[in-house]
């Protein structure tokens, strides 16, 4: 059987997404303004987003971009100032959190310190009036899912950070919510544990088929885990797409800059080519742009040769990163360009070398200046 995510991808490919049955969360023109008058702060300005059932959706952006506010509006901890939020076609904008079949994994975990792991995990079902036997059965099942069977009778403070994280996850999964909201749940973990939890989360998502809405400011985390990503900045949703879309075709300079490393070069459109600051022409894919544009060039799309034809520049910095070496090349007009080259024992370049540069022009993104 196909996982929910794979089914979703097949449907999406066939253009068969049905708004009424395949959309889990539908936020329509959601705005949130704190305060009033001169001191009013716009946390969210007119955000519309559709999150499909069974997908792993990530809201990505720097702190203060409104991603957590949007998550809190979906959970019911905040009421939007304008717009509406629908869950599987039902308007839930003004429903209190305890009436929404949506659960949250909190950044601080927020485990109940006076309850055991099993009581924490069973809390949601107990509040919904499930029988003690059903609660116990569900707790056993979910604790097995997160591999914490042996810790059922411990108190949260007797567990390590990673274990507490998994209790928080189990607690939110136990009532089988339609949507699981995750508010930067991995930010308190160290790197190794974070990587472990990332694959753990992916596994849990495909095993349960629950829609995950994941909030993070870590672009790498977003790229590796998500089916789709929504990039946010200053209360606005800038771009929604698969990790590939976002990385290869960022809609603007902010997205290109935020996702991975990017070189930006100013250029002017001349016919079906662009002229960069050094005077060289590049045959980048144009879609009717005219005048001044910005080229977004990924470091891996730049290659360095010893032949000094075409664009050339001088290496001003070389950072050895193991598999790759990052060269910063200063072009003739003074603009810097970073190239990521596979490290080789021979034929390496040194700081001060004048080198030729080849840019994979077809992969360059042209952004409006």
């Amino acid at each position: 059987m196909l996982s929910a995510g794979a089914q979703r991808k097949l449907k999406a490919a066939a253009g068969e997404i049905d708004v009424n049955t395949d959309i889990a969360i539908d936020a329509r023109n959601v705005g949130k303004i704190y305060g009033a008058g001169a001191s009013a702060v716009t946390a969210l300005g007119d955000v519309s987003i559709s999150i499909e059932k069974g997908e792993f959706f990530t809201l990505l952006g720097p702190s203060g971009c409104g991603k957590t506010t949007l998550l809190r509006c979906i959970a019911g901890f905040e009421t939007p100032t304008s717009g509406s939020i629908h869950l599987s076609g039902t308007d839930i904008t003004y429903d209190p959190p305890y009436q929404r079949p949506v659960n949250t994994v909190f950044q601080s975990y927020a485990l109940f310190p006076h309850l055991t792991v099993a009581q924490n995990v069973g809390f949601g079902l107990k509040m919904r009036g499930a029988s003690a036997a059903d609660v116990a059965k569900a707790v056993d099942r979910v604790l097995a899912l997160v591999k914490l069977e042996d810790f059922a009778n411990r108190l949260p403070q007797q567990l390590s950070g990673g274990q507490q994280q998994r209790v928080a996850l189990a607690r939110a999964l136990a009532p089988e919510p339609q949507v699981l909201l995750l508010d930067e749940p991995l930010s308190a973990l160290d790197l190794k544990l974070r990587k472990e939890m990332q694959s753990e989360l992916k596994r849990l998502q495909s095993e349960t088929g629950i829609t995950f809405v994941f909030v993070t400011h870590d672009q790498e985390e977003a790229l590796t885990m998500s089916d789709r990503i929504g990039v946010m900045s200053a209360g606005a949703l800038l771009q929604v797409g698969t990790p590939h879309d976002i990385y290869d075709r960022p809609v603007n300079r902010f997205v290109a800059d935020f996702i991975g490393e990017t070189n930006f070069l100013d250029a002017t459109v001349e016919g079906n080519q662009v002229r960069i600051g050094t005077g060289d022409l590049l045959a980048v894919p144009l879609q009717g742009e005219t005048g001044a544009v910005t080229l977004a060039i990924r470091p891996e799309q730049v290659s360095v040769t010893s032949a000094q034809t075409g664009i050339s520049g001088k290496i001003t910095e070389a950072i050895y990163m193991g598999t790759d070496t990052h060269y910063t090349i200063t072009l003739k007009d003074g603009s810097p360009l970073v190239a990521r080259i596979q490290s080789k024992s021979s034929g390496a370049f040194d700081v001060g070398d004048t080198v030729g540069i080849a840019i994979d022009a077809q992969a360059v993104q042209v952004l409006k200046s």
Binding site: Y98, T104, F106, A110, H114, F123, G124, A172, P175
Partner: protein
Amino acid sequence: MAKPRVFDVTTLPGFTFIAILAFVLLYAPIITLVIYSFNGGDSVNQWGGFSLEWYAVAAKNEAVQDATARSLIIAVWASVISTTVATMAALGTTRRGKFTGQTMIYVIINQPLMVPEIVTAVALLIFFSSVKVATGYTGLGYLILAHSAFCIPFAYLPIKARLEGMDTAMETAAADLYATPWQTFRYVTLPLLLPGVIAGAMLAFIISLDNVIITEFVKSAGQDTLPTYMLGQLRRALTPEVNAISTALLALTVLILTVFVFVTKKRD
């Protein structure tokens, strides 16, 4: 490991002298009182050998038994009522957004700490005497109500401190997990708040137990509490019986305060 300090009051001249003087002033009279409660003679300032005689006299004294029972009944009721009201007040002032008149509410709740007790006492005397005339009821209810009222701020302060120290994410998480506001209070807020509630109740209990002024004004005939009984005794012959009762009261207070310290210290 000793940390170097920029400012350490213990190095100031006279620190030790002032500290010792303060302790002597605080505790010398109390220690004398405790010592004379074991006096074999019948003077409160002339030693006549060690004896537990006056404890036995006090324990057998029906008026003392009566006053003790009354004191305990009033203190238990007053602490239950004032703690309940204080818990609601603390929730009402901490589990909501900022509101206009917030400072005013704090002042009103803590009013008994600031208004001179004698003023409250006179006010209650006048108020209750007209209620007594109107209703004909002369029972302990008046004393319990009066004690409950002035105990509220003492119960309120530790409960409010505990609530302010509690992470509201717990309550948010409970609401997220289908708990209605009442369930959230019952299963999350109250259990986490319990140490604060116990501390508040114990403080209220002690405050009620040794109140004199308001009790003296509000009580009807034959409604002596232990402190007002002792006050009455002082006007007559002074025997070490008063010392024995005082020492017993002191021991109870110290015991409760010790528990109070442990309960409040355990919080996170």
